[in-house]
């Protein structure tokens, strides 16, 4: 079964530990904001370097890993760095650096309260994200999945207004409720059937379960990963908009939802395995189910006037692309899925950053208020345009690459209706992003507002958002490392096919 030899390495533990250490330092330097924020930045940079240092070994085909604790034999907290996990970790840790700068700008500009708690929660969330990325078994994944939920609660409810608390409670109810009810149930059933929780390239359930049981477990898994925001468990995501914008960026691009889809990919590839899912036709079912979410969420997004709400529904729709890709169970589909994780990450974080920048600079939140804003905030809106184009999937933006592979995947898997879904959704994406760009650049600002003069948000915000937009652009031309990692993921997953 597990023919892959695991190279012992504590690097994943360090990657997780570094931001935990930062939590302590942040708490200790509570009274000194500069020091506090220095620790955040330092931790993010160190974390990224640790993650990046693992790239060569993984590209070599090695799998790094170690066992942290054995609770009882069979229940372990253990880490394993494979291509898929590294892929996710690389993206998340890179985005954390950028988000940290942006956070500092945003939080200082808005003079938010409880800043120490904010940075601490952020750092824990990143640790837990690494934990999910590097988890070697379902239990480890579950633990870190829950930690993410718990430590993002104070972030979502940061403002502590009744509205914010209500949103945060809804967030917690959906995520914690579904994972305790369904994900844990699925894990128990998986353990009972397979006798192990260890991820494996060929899946661990194949040959151990009846068809009905496989379907039951699969449905439970999908219902349990509400973080992937597949309908009908999506409404926590718009509710979580009450959070400050950098948090939304974290939720939508870096940690939370990406963890959800990452878990879905893990379950499809490493718990069930392509063969089992293809045998019982679950891949196809999931693909069509994801298509449903793609279309419906896009249509809802069209009708949102609040910019962040529109972005939120866009995320719901885009996440289902990722699910769709892996559900196609074909090499190109999986490549597209994995690539979309990172490309959507950069695109969406740009969009949220710009939304935050607009808010900080003008306190505007609605699409209908954005007339003519392009002239006052040229950098921001240029970045927005790049991000939106990437979302729609038009060259020369990174988003095109993943769409391209998804189309290839649909053809390989012989699911031509999926092509229609992709086409329709591209049109819908264009339908809800292009009007914003049009308003910003081609309409004149409302009366009473000066049209002239640059009025950008603080540099600490504008620079990160420009960077992410440029990365989203750059990834079209140099997808190298990510594509190579995706290739290894595909090779592993389809090896036993």
């Amino acid at each position: 079964m597990s023919s892959v030899f695991i190279t012992q390495s504590a690097a994943p533990v360090y990657a997780i530990g570094v931001s935990l250490a930062a939590v302590l330092l942040i708490k200790l330097s509570e009274r000194n904001p500069n020091a506090r924020e220095f620790w955040t930045i330092a931790a993010s940079v160190i974390k990224f370097s640790i993650v990046a240092s693992m790239v060569p070994a993984v590209l070599d085909g090695k799998v790094l890993g170690c066992t942290l604790v054995t609770i009882v034999p069979g229940l372990e907290i253990a880490f394993k760095v494979d291509a898929l996990g590294l892929f996710f970790a690389l993206m998340a840790s890179l985005l954390w650096i950028i988000t940290s700068f942006y956070s500092i700008g945003y939080i200082r500009a808005e003079k938010e309260h409880a800043q120490t708690r904010y940075y601490m929660s952020f750092a824990i969330a990143l640790s837990a994200t690494m934990g999910v990325a590097f988890s070697a078994n379902l239990l480890t994944m579950f633990v870190f999945y829950e930690i993410i939920t718990l430590c993002t609660f104070p972030l979502v409810g940061h403002k502590e207004t009744p509205e914010a608390m209500a949103g945060a409670r809804k967030y917690l109810t959906y995520l914690l409720g579904t994972s305790l009810l369904f994900l844990m149930f699925a894990i128990v059933l998986t353990y009972s059937a397979a006798g192990t929780l260890e991820f494996n390239n060929q899946g661990i359930l194949d040959g151990n379960v009846s068809k009905a049981m496989a379907i039951a477990i699969f449905v439970l898994f999908m219902a349990g990963t509400a973080k992937a925001a597949m309908m009908p468990f999506h409404s926590w995501l718009p509710a979580a908009m009450v959070a400050p914008t950098p948090v939304s960026a974290l939720l939508h691009a870096v940690a939370v939802v990406k963890t959800g889809v990452f878990v879905v990919i893990k379950i499809v590839l490493h718990v069930f395995g392509i063969k089992l899912l293809a045998d019982i036709g679950l891949g196809t079912a999931l693909a069509y189910y994801a298509s449903f979410t793609i279309i419906v969420a896009s249509m809802i997004a069209l009708r949102q006037d609040n910019l962040k709400a529109r972005l939120a529904y866009s995320t719901i729709s885009q996440l289902s692309y990722i699910v769709l890709g892996v559900a196609l169970l074909s090499p190109s589909g999986i490549t597209g899925s994995v690539m979309h994780m990172v490309l959507h990450g950069f695109g969406k974080i740009t969009l949220f950053f710009t939304a935050g920048a607009i808010y900080v600079a003008t306190h505007k939140t609605n699409v209908s208020q954005l007339d003519g804003i392009g002239k006052r905030m040229p950098f921001t809106m240029a970045a927005f345009t790049l991000g939106a184009i990437s979302m729609i999937g038009i060259p020369p933006m990174g988003g095109f690459i993943s769409k391209w592979y998804l189309v290839g995947g649909a053809i390989e898997a012989d699911h031509l209706p999926i092509l229609l879904v992709l086409a329709a959704s591209t049109l819908l994406n264009a339908g809800y992003f292009l009007p914003i760009i049009y308003r910003a650049f081609f309409l004149s600002p409302p009366e009473g507002e000066s049209a002239e003069g640059i009025c950008e948000a603080p540099k600490a915000m504008v620079i990160p958002l420009t960077l992410t937009a440029l990365v989203a652009l750059g990834l079209f031309f140099f997808p190298g490392v990510f594509l190579e990692l995706a290739r290894i993921v595909v090779a592993g997953a389809t090896g036993g096919y």
Binding site: V69, T70, I71, L75, E146, L172, G177, M184, V188, S192
Partner: protein
């Protein structure tokens, strides 16, 4: 073996008894002696019980003949894996609560009665240890009554008048339970002529179809379920836990129901055996009751506004978990059940100790009054949070371990539909604990003035920390529990 170590089984019970008798005298000399005596003697019993358990693990069950009369003529004390395990749990919690007691009873018990309190405390501990260690059913009854009587007075020792009626109700139902128990003993004696558990176990299988045996089984089960507060026989419990002094609720919540659970397991699987329990469909009845207990306990807990009441109803639900493993009757589930005896003792002990600290320092018992306390009492609240997470069953805490084994055991038994019950109750538990945790950390602090320094924190933190330690390094208790479970199910229980 020296004369001391060879007599450890009896010393385990006699030590607290002697200390209980001496305390009233010592208290006359100096009021500071009784608490110290309580701590020292419970520490000694803990040490002894650990030694006994490890001896039992190394070289098989220890049988100790009291007065050197061979069983079944004389009374026998037995330390096997199961009883050794429960002894350690009881002795440990007794020590922790003994450390904790001096801080809280100052406020809760009239000054002139503190000495009596310690004497009764030691009697309660002696009774509980006696129930666990004895291998004779009638002797078990005597110890049940010792622990119960001491318990009734301890519950009523506080200043709340509701404690009196709570104690009286408990006395009535507890006596019904104990009397049912001796009816069961009488019926078994009628058809076997013996009172020794091992002897009963060897003589019963021939007459398993006798109606007398069936009835005895029914009386044992009902009587012990009353002591155990198994839903719907739980009605005495919430008032008792709510109104008793904190130290008493902590000890009783941590050990009282656990020992009753031990007695039920011992009688149903060790005196009777697993085949008999299966043949009378004992499992299905218990399954329904335990699931009802788990859900009802959680639902009732949610609707409470008093935090002690909430914890008490949560105990009703947790008792359901212990019984659930017994109902499923397979090794994995029974392991879960036994490990939950330890785990729930730790979690609920910690929670009641925390609540005791809160009440002691702020005088608040209502959940709404806890807002913002996370800032003024960080360590206490950290202990509370850890124990709450454990109650929910978050991995890396002890609560997860027991739920995991119960859930996997349920699937093994082909009763996968029990898993949702466990999970739904986890969610409900999350609801009622989250409500508090959120208030503690996010609420605007109410105007409470904290009074008094607190030495209560040390034992509380130790217990709370163990919730995590045994959640991470679960191999040790789990392996012991698994050994005990396989012995029970393999028929070699005694």
């Amino acid at each position: 073996m020296s004369i001391i170590t060879s007599n450890f089984p009896v010393l385990l019970v006699i030590t607290p008894l002697i200390v209980a008798v001496c305390i009233p005298l010592l208290g006359r000399i100096n009021k500071r002696i009784p608490p110290v005596a309580a701590v020292v003697s419970t520490a000694f019993t803990l040490m002894v019980s650990i030694i006994l358990l490890s001896t039992a693990l190394d070289s098989g069950p220890i049988s100790y003949w009291l007065g050197n009369w061979a069983p079944p003529w004389g009374i026998e004390y037995v330390v096997d894996t199961l009883s050794g395990f429960v002894l350690v749990v009881v002795a440990f919690m007794a020590l922790m609560v003994a450390l904790y007691t001096p801080g809280t009873i100052r406020d809760e018990v009239p000054n002139d009665k503190e000495t009596t309190f310690y004497s009764l405390y030691m009697l309660l501990v002696a009774g509980l240890l006696g129930i666990v260690i004895t291998g004779d059913v009638f002797n078990m009854y005597v110890f049940i009554e010792i622990s119960s009587l001491a318990g009734y007075a301890l519950i009523a020792s506080g200043k709340k008048r509701e404690a009196l009626t709570a104690s009286f109700n408990y006395l009535i139902l507890g006596t019904v339970g104990a009397t049912f128990f001796i009816i069961g003993v009488g019926l078994l004696y009628m058809v076997t002529g013996t009172l020794n558990m091992a002897d009963l176990a060897s003589r019963l299988p021939e007459i398993y179809d006798s109606k007398v045996v069936l009835t005895a089984f029914a009386f044992f089960s009902v009587g012990l379920s009353l002591k155990l507060a198994l839903f719907p026989l739980h009605i005495w419990l919430p008032k008792v836990y709510t109104n008793a002094p904190s130290a008493v609720s902590s000890l009783m919540a941590a050990t009282g129901t656990k020992v009753a659970a031990y007695a039920l397991i011992r009688i149903t699987l060790s005196v009777f055996d697993v085949e008999f329990s299966r043949s009378v469909d004992f499992g299905s009845i218990l399954l329904v009751l335990s699931c009802a207990a788990i859900i009802a306990g959680s639902v009732l807990a949610i609707s409470q506004t008093n935090i002690k009441m909430m914890l008490a109803y949560s105990s009703v639900g947790q008792v359901g978990y212990i019984v659930l493993g017994l109902a499923l009757l397979n090794e994995t589930a029974l392991t879960g059940s036994l490990i939950h005896i330890l785990n729930h003792a730790l979690m609920k002990g910690a929670l009641f100790m925390v609540v005791g600290i809160i009440v002691f320092r702020t005088g608040v018992e209502e959940i709404s009054g806890l807002r913002g306390l996370g800032r003024c009492m960080p360590f206490t609240m950290a202990a509370f949070t850890i124990a709450s997470l454990s109650m929910i069953g978050v991995p890396l805490t002890v609560g997860f371990i027991s739920k995991w084994y119960l859930a996997v055991g349920a699937v093994e038994a082909g009763m996968w539909y029990v898993v949702p019950v466990i999970l739904v109750s986890s969610v409900l538990t999350a609801v009622y604990f989250w409500r508090i945790v959120e208030g503690i950390y996010f609420g605007k602090a109410a105007n409470v003035t904290l009074k008094g320094p607190t030495g209560l924190l040390v034992p509380t933190m130790i217990v709370a920390a163990l919730c995590v330690v045994f959640g991470v390094a679960a191999s040790v208790p789990v392996s012991v529990a698994r050994l005990a479970a396989s012995a029970l199910l393999g028929g070699g229980g005694m």
